[in-house]
């Protein structure tokens, strides 16, 4: 028809509001356009006989425009609902566009295929669980990281863990893996000693009998025992010279500590051996004169100790 040419002249060389020019080609925004391109054969405005496929909410329509209805825009497009089945829809398109230009029939079928495929894809994507994207709350993140750092400092983790482990150790969770009797053992010993001392004191107070075996002071006696116990006959000479230089007061002080921890510890012998003169040298400033040592003491040490205890 003549109007088609006129319209296309206007569209092509003048203004068309549906025309969208890109760098490579010119596109068409009209929803009835069958290819999306701006050219004469695919222009829904410049073609009085035209057909296309439309999709509305997943339902397909074949839309047909004929010259006979051109005078009434309201009834210009005939819409035929296409069945859901792709094959049936194709048949229907063939039926309605039986003697139409090959170009339009072909493009309609192409469009039908494309739309059917994208509907299937849409459905599949809807059904599939997809990750929901969330924005990053920078302010909250910063605030939380600050609070985390403070909480970590407040937690004092290493100490908390150590405390818990030690609590478990004390509670006996580890059974006999660890043998830490030292402290407890020491405490127990202390307690027993205290109890014994108390018992002795009580006995004294009550006026019980007491055996005093010798005039010799118990402390001194202990010292002597220590000395003898440790003094090997060969190093006796070396010891002598040392002590002579040190003087008497030193001698006394050196000897005292050994008296306080009389039994059970290695210190006793060591200190005694270093500081004690062998034959009870008389010191000028000594508080107390030493009794001459009789060698029998050594022999008697065992029964005495038992008594003293």
């Amino acid at each position: 028809m003549i109007t088609d040419d006129v319209i296309w002249q206007v569209i092509n060389y003048n203004q068309c509001s549906f025309k969208a020019k890109t760098q490579t080609q010119t596109m068409c925004r009209n929803q009835y356009n069958i290819t999306g391109l701006c050219n004469k054969s695919a222009c829904p405005l410049a073609q009085s006989q035209y057909a296309t496929i439309l999709e509305e909410d997943g339902v397909l329509f074949l839309a047909i425009k004929t010259a006979e209805r051109a005078h009434s825009p309201k009834r210009l497009w005939e819409r035929i609902r296409l069945p859901k089945s792709y094959m049936a829809a194709l048949e229907l398109v063939d039926q309605h566009l039986q003697y139409w230009p090959k170009f339009i029939v072909h493009k309609c079928k192409q469009r039908l295929t494309k739309i059917t495929q994208y509907i299937i894809r849409m459905r599949r994507l809807r059904l599939k669980a997809r990750p929901k994207l969330e924005r990053v709350h920078t302010k909250r993140e910063k605030r939380d990281s600050r609070r985390e750092a403070k909480a970590e400092r407040a937690a004092n983790l290493d100490k908390a863990i150590e405390k818990e482990l030690l609590a478990r150790l004390r509670a006996g969770t580890y059974g006999d893996i660890y043998n830490y009797p030292l402290q407890e053992y020491g405490k127990l010993l202390d307690k027993e000693e205290e109890a014994e001392e108390e018992a002795e004191e009580e006995a004294e107070e009550e006026g019980g009998m007491e055996f005093v075996e010798d005039l010799v002071d118990e402390e001194d006696e202990d010292l002597e025992e220590a000395d003898y116990a440790f003094r090997a006959p060969d190093d006796a000479d070396g010891d002598d010279s040392d002590v002579g230089e040190d003087g008497d007061e030193d001698e006394d002080e050196g000897a005292r500590p050994t008296e306080r921890k009389p039994r059970g510890k290695g210190q006793r012998g060591a200190a005694g051996a270093g500081a004690r003169p062998p034959d009870g040298q008389p010191g000028a400033g000594a508080k107390r004169r030493r009794v001459n040592i009789e060698y029998e003491h050594e022999l008697e040490s065992e029964p005495r100790r038992a008594l003293g205890r």
């Binding site: 970590e152 937690a155 863990i161 150590e162 893996i177 402290q183």
Partner: protein
Amino acid sequence: MGRLKPDVGNKLKRAELAFKDKANKKKEKKQRQIERRKEAEALGSEAPPKQVPKSLDTMREYDETVVQPDDEEVMGEDAIDEFAEHFTGAESKTLITTGHYTSPEIMQLVDELVDLMPNAEYRKRGTADLKPIIEGASERGYTMMMVVTSKAKKATGLWVVKLPAGPTAHFRMTSVRLRKQIRNHGRPTSHRPELVLNNFGTRLGHRIGRLFGSLFPHDPQFHGRRVVTLHNQRDFVFLRHHRYMFSETGQRAYLQELGPRLTLRLRSLQLGTFDTTHGLYEWHHTPDMDTSRRRFFL
């Protein structure tokens, strides 16, 4: 903070004065502390009680759900809840996987998590969806499942799912430090570790504690001296992994970190297994819950 010396015009002078002022205050504070200590020593047993510093923990808002040790209701619930089987001797078996996209960093973290938990196995996620994986894992006898999610090669989340019937906990994961990044780290042995769960006080915390508890076996090998700690402080759960050694006197425990080190923060606890569309939530954190800095949920 405003100016400490607002009336001095010269900036340098003002700064100098402010600095002196601050130093003086510090000195005075120290002095007060010393005096207080002396006073306490002098008074002996009659000394005023030692001052406890105010902190968010001591000033925490009252929470009526804090579990008391002799709460019969809680004990009864513990006996029948989803984790009860693990607390009566059933062995746990954990499946660890990642999101769809992983990176060497994430895989390293997963490796270390596998080392951390005995009976844990890694399975490649690929493109598989989580729901069928959960079903399959339940059928194969796994009791727990963990999913490490990540973004831009950084671990950002952790899902812990109890199989086969839930619950599902979702944590945000931050501050991940792998073994290599920890100074003086050791290498873990394959002994079953001990577990230390600290400060899971409320009902929700109790439940989360039990969730973590069922990830680990309950018969640790004490001679391995491995300890895994999950310490909750102000709703941040700190995961640490150490080897310990008691001092000769048994008065101290020395720790060597084995890694990984990370922080978890609970986002949601869901009834049932993973379901983001129709899942029911026991607890879900929303920003409007953060009404106060002193309000904590675990």
